[in-house]
Homo-oligomer: 319 residues x 2
């Protein structure tokens, strides 16, 4: 625990999936300066996707970050770096400035295993622009080992700085993290590693800490756990627990008091039984999200029966 | 994970600390038969304290279990055994029937380290009556090692079946559990071990699983985590996760749907920031409970400042 870790707070980016990025400029400013005081190394301030390439382009500035706007919001940068996430097929490379003209320091590319080659193309581009880069392989609990080995071979050769283990379905335990981190370390000895965990089984903090103890350097978290569905590892817990004099939980508690309690009253995330069921079954949370948005939101047994009935299998998977 | 574990569900006993044991007879019956179907080995149906010895004796039947009443409630026993907890100084030994006349199978004695000798007196008595017994050492995170070593020497000689590691303040991590279980195993090689975890840092499930993997046999949990303050390891997660064909999460989901959602709307437990702060600071939750019952319930920063100011130290501890 004496190793050097970086907390990357993704409240605005991942939390935006909960409230359609309905964050005020003041709230995002408070977050940035509060997280800076707390000792958080990176704040992910949104997506750098292109509104032209994505339907529903009315989600406000944090989904389609614009550099001029960012300079207004974060007029004084602290030691806390800024990151943005891009999705394969949703980013217009022409939107990306060279790093010295940008407020951003790190660009993270999220991809499924089948798109690793496309992700590497983007990484090469962003790296040549001067950015730190990461590749975030989603849904790792659904990836076959041979596909992962092939991806590692390509990733090892590319200039990416950080490779992330993403527990998209919140189905992993510390034992799984232990196994995966060892595997990533073995096959990608020259890359830094990151973990991005979801809280369906109340394991996000435990998994993140397990990663940290094994030498993972990039630890994703969000304030009060705000993030899609069951949410993320709570920043307040990570800041409280990591042994380093730069961390201070008080500003995070202040952010929760000022912003997060009222947000949680308005929007919903965290340990809810449909998310627990999806996590335990190692499934995407989309069906749980649909249930919770319906008038059957508390009919957990029916939901469980649907997900576990043989008919619930996708076509081609039941046989 | 292929070892034999016993889940002990303590929803009625520990959850009663949240709602002053305001559980209907029907609810408790549903719990017992639901948990039986789920594969839970023990259900703790309340306290076997004496109303005469305890102020506030109006808390209903689950705080002061009566054998005739118990026979009415659980008229048909399944394979799921029943347990009750007693507190030092609050139990009248004359209230305890010989086991063959009782509905109870296991009596658990909760004590602080200073009262281990009194606990052993009770254990000797209950053991001679034919009960399975456990000793639950509370507040282990505040116990000095030499005191613990002395207690172990006495416990090793007494007939108690199970010795519990209790994280009363919810301040432990899987690393702590790992360490403590190894120590308990070394010094109490002939006793079974148990873990009773609290969820202040969202670690109750992770800690319980860590114990299980190290060979701890008695795993405390409660449905939907219901228990004092931050609550316990959720039964639904443990049942979902332990690898044994006797476990089935569906009846637990049914109990949550039928009973726990409405209870959680009426009463409060779980991951709330004042409990998180108390857990992180390794403190009793009583000040957090008082805060949450006041009109300053969301003034987290003031609360944090109070608990961390030098004046917050108990008399005699600041110097």
């Amino acid at each position: 625990m004496t190793q050097d870790h970086h907390i990357l707070d993704c409240t605005i980016r991942d939390g935006g999936l909960v409230n359609n990025w309905d964050f005020s400029v003041q709230m995002v400013k408070d977050m940035y300066y509060g997280l800076s005081e707390a000792g958080v190394s990176y704040m992910e301030i949104g997506y750098k996707n292109s509104a032209k390439l994505l339907k529903g382009g009315d989600s406000g500035p944090w989904r389609f970050l614009n550099e001029d706007f960012l300079k207004e919001v974060i007029s004084r940068k602290t030691e806390t770096k800024l990151s943005a996430l891009v999705d394969i097929g949703r980013v217009d490379e022409n939107d990306i400035l060279p790093r010295e003209q940008s407020q951003l320091d790190l660009i993270r590319v999220a991809c499924y295993i089948k798109d690793v080659d496309k992700a590497i193309d983007l990484i090469n581009k962003f790296h040549s622009f001067g950015y730190e880069t990461s590749i975030n392989i989603m849904a790792l609990s659904h990836v076959m080992e041979n596909d992962l080995n092939e991806a590692f071979a390509e990733i090892a050769k590319c200039p990416v700085d950080v490779v992330y283990i993403v527990d998209s379905y919140g189905s992993m335990t510390p034992q799984d993290i232990d196994y995966l981190v060892a595997k990533f370390q073995r096959q990608l000895p020259e890359k830094k590693l990151g973990v991005h965990m979801h809280n369906n089984m109340q394991m996000a903090f435990a998994n993140t800490l397990t990663g940290a103890l094994k030498g993972v350097q990039f630890l994703d978290a969000s304030v009060y756990g705000m993030g899609r569905a069951a949410g993320n590892c709570p920043t307040e817990l990570l800041v409280s627990h990591l042994k380093n004099s730069r961390y201070n939980v008080r500003p995070v508690i202040e952010l929760i008091e000022k912003h997060m309690i009222s947000m949680r009253e308005k929007w919903e995330w965290g340990y809810l039984i449909p998310y627990m069921i999806a996590g335990v079954l190692n499934e995407h949370p989309r069906s749980a999200m649909a249930l919770l948005a319906s008038d059957k939101r508390n009919q957990f047994v029916d939901f469980y029966d649907q997900l576990t009935s043989p008919e619930a299998m996708p076509a081609g998977q039941a046989d």
